[in-house]
Assembly symmetry: D2
Homo-oligomer: 341 residues x 4
């Protein structure tokens, strides 16, 4: 990190910073400019850094502390320049040439609904089935999921179709009963900064699908992935799902540039969720294709046999026919960018 | 709600909306304009509304559904036009003429630190002590709190000073051991949409301090309060703590207008946290005074005996002297707006 | 528009709204619900609407006024369901099956630079040349453009390559000398709400490339287009160039969903500017391809023969080689979505 | 500035940066850390800096360039630690102990309206009169101002009340006829980055009221002020008027922290516009008081004799009575923070 002193800072103030750095085991490299003095801190001790930076900011005549190194290591591109794809099941993987399309209903509502959706997405070319059994809702009056019953329906759908199943884990208490039976554990956008939960799923031996918080920077997202990785689990799939901005024509703003940045910075695969990003079925195909063109390794798409009867997120759900059409278009764009789908 | 049809929608499409509304128990009021037709849905059944609105949006020729009623009732101003103050302890309350200033360190770090902070904030006029014993952090390398040991220090500080104690509850599993011993349960900004947690604290008989999520709208914040209220607990204190915007000169942007809006819409007291909003001790006084002038019922302020040694949030912590000075200024502004502090 | 009354509004207040509407030539359609009363205003007189809505909001017991119709007509999709492409020159057009790629340097710096850039982008398949001769800068110490000299270089490049030329017009005074000699008049993001300028370019018989303001909603962008259209000029090309959000990893956040929304709402072609959206050459290809996949009708790309010596925006400028590579990839994605490039 | 090299950058790449810096007249200070190398550039030549920083970013193995010095000098606090107040007229000034409240209608509509407003705001204690004679509107169907006729009404109001008059200048062509007759030239939020206009008003010998762009950072705002200052005019009054965020309960989010930051960074007075920030008369008093409590040097408030008949911004306009009440409350808060009003 670099400590920038205020203009006119006396030598004693510079010296105090130097001593504080040295006491913390850093080398200090003082550089006096025409208008200001800066001090480079040399020697990385990650554990101490955030708090040391904060403490240095409280010293007199310190203007600000500029971090130089990125706050993630295990997930950084340098740590693993040629990562293998992450297997979701015997025939499904994310991060290879073939795009991974995970599809299914927002929420598991009935046995028939899940089975119908599973058959449809399988037939259209999805590689895994999604469906929420516990749902985070923004109002006390909304549907909160079928729980164990819903999980059983997902398992039945997996048994019939062979599709690995992916569902959200909302709190630590759910890990025990969900982690064992799911193939992919999804951490929802609202839980991206729930560090207790991140730490626990980092100890589970299953792939984790980590959605970006809708108000989280890319750096915060990658720090969350680092949190999971410190638990020993590096099978992390990043999922960009739109961010909150001043624009409300669609529900969120898909940050397609985040696909580029996350892939440049880390060795993790990145997929795109056009359904939550848009909130609107007609907008799902353009956003899905944009994600693929930008280099995403896959998609997370909501598909419901009867969107008009969905208990959640009907407006953004594709019908089975809509999804089949989308897959044809995804395949064409995938090939245009040197991949398959 | 109002259903707006697309321009040129055929009568059959309008009729389909009407039938769907009637089937759901609503009256439908069709109004044909020059360019478009709108349908008013009359008769409120809150439980069904969000999902029905979504389902209507999937119907052909429906342009959009405009909600008319606000998505909260129990906490609305109409529900309780003259609410009594919420007691935090025998001598402390939020929502009356006297402002409630809750102060203390970000995190409980040592016994001495907490006791020193408690004595200082008591002497300066705070009415309650804050201090985190479990900490949500944004990096795996940061301090995560002392847990039970920290809680014991808070209790000791309460015993000595008489100040009620306030601390954050981060997950359901912590409610059991924290709720009984704390006087105020804080729900942090990151957990404002953790509905499992909101539901559980709604069943506890202790005041809840509900921070606004840094990317949550006021409406979402009030819906979160409604969620707590549906559990039976109406002793909810709202806390505005800054929102994430494009501006980064301070850590967040204090939304001082949210104090006005939240108080206009609900019967709940609203306090302001200038420490998290700014991230910077020198900016705490102007933001604190702004909050009081805008009508806030109190403040949540970070105070640390030695900010330069703080294990978290040192740069935004006031020293005891800084806090004493702030309180004198708060008192002056409070009196200017017809209150005391 | 719909006027929503506050809960418990007396009949007299409803009547006052009705009378005000009728006095303004509207029909009023009162609908009394269980909790509130709403009044639909029927009969559209666009000129009066914004101010009438504001005036109604000042009446007692009025909660809010909800607009129903969109604030643009001339540019709406209904007004022109099958628009012909907009010709930029004898062989270049935007809005047809073939994508229009407009490329060139941020600023015209020297005669050689422009000619070299023009030859390179022509060879790679661009259909028009861009280059700023007057530059809006964010600091008094930045390069502000060559003016008339720069325009002459653009004209020389056009004469040599046959490429139509596109450049920004920053104020009304520049229209006279720029409009006659340019083929496309660009309105920059900062001027999207400069209504004097919009009105004047609406009177010029040249295509207008209207960039979206980086903090403007899509609706505001389309209202700006409507402003141009009211001057009689419907040859408007919309250009999405990224919006300002809390994310700063790239310069702006490309709102790829805006391509979908703007094309659904209007009959205008929409192109994407990946250079300004990202601020970073390596990010230009993924964003460009995302735009094409999302349905954009073209691209606006910065290309500089020697980015390291550019007097503005070097970091986001492609080299001629980089642009040639991009065009090959654009062609592949264009074909995947049923177009050519 | 600091040039941060990528991890593993070869010596030759570091050397290339050093040579480039030295060629530009800078000293280069290389600091090799454990994981990365950084290069400090010593010696400030402001004119070259922005473009040099961009050019350095294009060099191989350069990760990023971190600016150290702030991009404004003339307006910085160090440049003028004890600035005198800025006189608006014989008896009105901004920046002293006494707050400056500038009030009046959004737009000059009629002679009677302006005179009535002027008398009312004078009686209530305003020190200057505002009123738009040219209006920037967001729709082609809105009122665009009375022009010269409106200016004459303002002058008549000045003659009668003695209040200096303040109005917006929207383009360079208006400077000639407006600058001579107005006492304060307002640059609207939409024009904050109109650098042609800033440069020209910097050459005029009248105080400039520079509104912050609703999507501009504080740093960009201060750069805009620097732009005015480079023309020789240092009589600049900054005006915070709310920024665009995801929150839409009020029209904008008043960034009360910006008052603190702008005053810490510059020697310019800062006032607050609660009317545009909120868009809603009932919200004006809390925001106005918040601004004063946060340290603002004054207010800009919309007052209309008959808000329900206003041709623009009626919902946010105070009545004369409302303004009189506000002034009493402003006086109380001003005294609480050691000022008068």
């Amino acid at each position: 990190m670099i400590i920038v002193m205020r203009r006119g800072a006396p030598d004693a103030a510079v010296q105090q910073v130097v001593e504080r750095l040295e006491a913390a085991g850093y080398g200090a490299h003082v550089s006096r400019g025409v208008e200001t003095t800066i001090i480079g801190a040399i020697g990385a001790k990650d554990e101490d850094k955030p708090v040391l930076a904060q403490q240095l900011e409280t010293l007199p005549h310190v203007d600000r502390v500029v971090p130089i190194l990125r706050p993630y290591k295990l997930v950084s591109r340098e740590a693993n320049p040629e990562p293998p794809p992450i297997a979701l099941g015997p025939e499904a993987a994310v991060g290879g040439t073939k795009l991974a399309v995970i599809a299914g209903p927002c929420a598991v509502e009935t046995r028939e609904q899940v089975l119908e959706a599973a058959r449809a997405v399988k037939a259209a070319g999805a590689c895994a089935l999604r469906g929420g059994v516990v749902k985070p809702r923004t109002s006390p009056y909304e549907f909160t999921g079928l729980g164990h019953e819903g999980l059983a329906y997902l398992e039945e759908a997996r048994a019939e179709t062979g599709l690995p199943i992916c569902s959200e884990v909302m709190n630590i208490g759910q890990i025990e009963w969900l982690a064992e039976r799911l193939d992919v554990l999804q951490i929802g956008a609202r839980n991206m900064t729930n560090f207790d939960l991140l730490r626990e799923v980092g100890r589970v031996g299953k792939p984790v699908l980590l959605k970006r918080g809708f108000a989280s920077t890319i750096e915060e997202w990658l720090k969350a992935a680092e949190y999971v990785a410190t638990g020993g689990n590096l099978r992390i799939i990043l999922c960009e799902r739109g961010i909150r901005t001043f624009e409300t024509a669609l529900r969120n703003t898909l940050d397609v540039g985040a696909v580029f940045v996350a892939k440049r910075e880390t060795h993790l695969p990145v997929i795109v969720d056009p359904s939550h990003a848009s909130g609107h079925a007609a907008a799902v195909p353009p956003l899905a294709l944009a994600g693929v063109a930008a280099g995403a390794d896959g998609l997370l798409v909501e598909v419901h046999p009867h969107p008009g009867e969905a208990r959640c997120d009907g407006p953004q759900s594709l019908t089975p026919e809509g999804f089949r059409d989308l897959m044809a278009r995804v395949r064409a764009v995938a090939e245009a960018v040197g991949r398959t789908a």
